[in-house]
C-alpha cells in the first residue's frame, strides 16, 4: 500500500486531474461510488484553494491503513501566504478571495479527519482522510 500519487497544482486543469486521480485511488481502495464522489469533491475544493490563494502547490493522495480499516489520505501542500485565522477560514461563508467560502468547511464536512497546519508567509498544509465503512 505504498502507492502515493502526487499531482502538481498550477492550473485549473490540475484541479480536475487531482480529483480524478483521487477518485481512481478511492475506487481501487474499495470505496463505494458515493464515497468516491465525496472524496473527489473534497479534493476539488482543497485543490482550488491551493490555486486561488497560493497559485501553486501539490496534492498527495495515498491509501492508508488503520488496523483493519483502509482509507485514503489526501495532503494539500503549498507555500502560499498561509491562513492567519484558521478557525475563521473553517467557518461557512468566510472567504477572502471572493469565493463562496465553502472550500475548506465543505471539504471538512465531506471527510472523516481534517487538519490544517499553516504559517503566515510560509504556506499551508491540509491533511484529510476518509475511512471505508465496514459492512457489518
Amino acid at each position: 500500500m505504498a502507492d502515493e500519487i502526487r499531482v502538481a497544482i498550477a492550473s485549473d486543469k490540475d484541479v480536475v486531474q487531482a480529483r480524478q486521480t483521487g477518485r481512481e485511488l478511492a475506487a481501487r481502495a474499495g470505496f463505494s461510488s458515493g464515497d468516491q464522489t465525496v472524496i473527489a469533491a473534497a479534493i476539488s475544493e482543497i485543490a482550488r484553494n491551493v490555486l486561488m490563494y497560493a497559485r501553486q502547490g501539490e496534492i498527495l493522495i495515498s491509501v492508508v491503513m488503520n488496523g483493519d480499516h483502509s482509507g485514503v489520505m489526501i495532503v494539500a501542500r503549498d507555500q502560499g501566504p498561509g491562513i492567519p485565522d484558521i478557525e475563521r477560514a473553517l467557518r461557512d461563508g468566510y472567504s477572502t478571495s471572493g469565493g463562496l467560502g465553502l472550500g475548506l468547511p465543505g471539504a471538512k464536512r465531506l471527510m472523516d479527519d481534517f487538519e490544517i497546519v499553516s504559517a503566515v508567509q510560509q504556506g499551508t498544509t491540509v491533511t484529510m482522510r476518509k475511512w471505508r465503512r465496514s459492512h457489518g
Binding site: 492550473s11 485549473d12 486543469k13 484541479v15 480536475v16 480529483r19 480524478q20 477518485r23 461510488s33 458515493g34 468516491q36 464522489t37 465525496v38 473527489a40 469533491a41 476539488s44 475544493e45 482550488r48 461557512d92 469565493g99 463562496l100 465553502l102 472550500g103 468547511p105 465543505g106 471539504a107 464536512r109 465531506l110
Partner: protein, 123 residues
Amino acid sequence: MEVPILKQGLYLIASIQSALTDADLLQLREALIERVGRFRSRGVIVDVTALDVMDSFAVRTLRDIAHMARLRGAETVIVGIQPDVAFAMVQLGLSLKGVATALDLEEGLAFLDRGGAPKRVRG
C-alpha cells in the same frame, strides 16, 4: 473542452460531455448568455448527466448561468444531476436554490414547455 450547445426551437441545450475545468465552465456561461440573445431563446437546458462531481465553483457557475439567462428573458433548467453528485453537494452545503432542476432532458423539456412553472402535485 468546449461544451456543445444545440439550438432546438426556442430552447438551447448544452450537453456537458466530460469533466470541465473552471475555464470551461466560464466559457459555457459566456456562450450560453450570448446565444440566448442571438437566437432569442426562451429556455436553456444544461445537461450535467456526465459530470461525476460538482464542487462549489461548478455549482456557483450553474447558478450564475440561470440567473443571467433569466435577466436576458430565458428560463434555465439543470438536468441530470446524478445521485452520488447530489449526495456530495448536500454534504458540501451546496444548493441550487432559485434554479430549476429536472431529472433528465425529457423532464427538462417538459418543464420549459409548461412555461417554466414548477409542477404542482397535490395529494
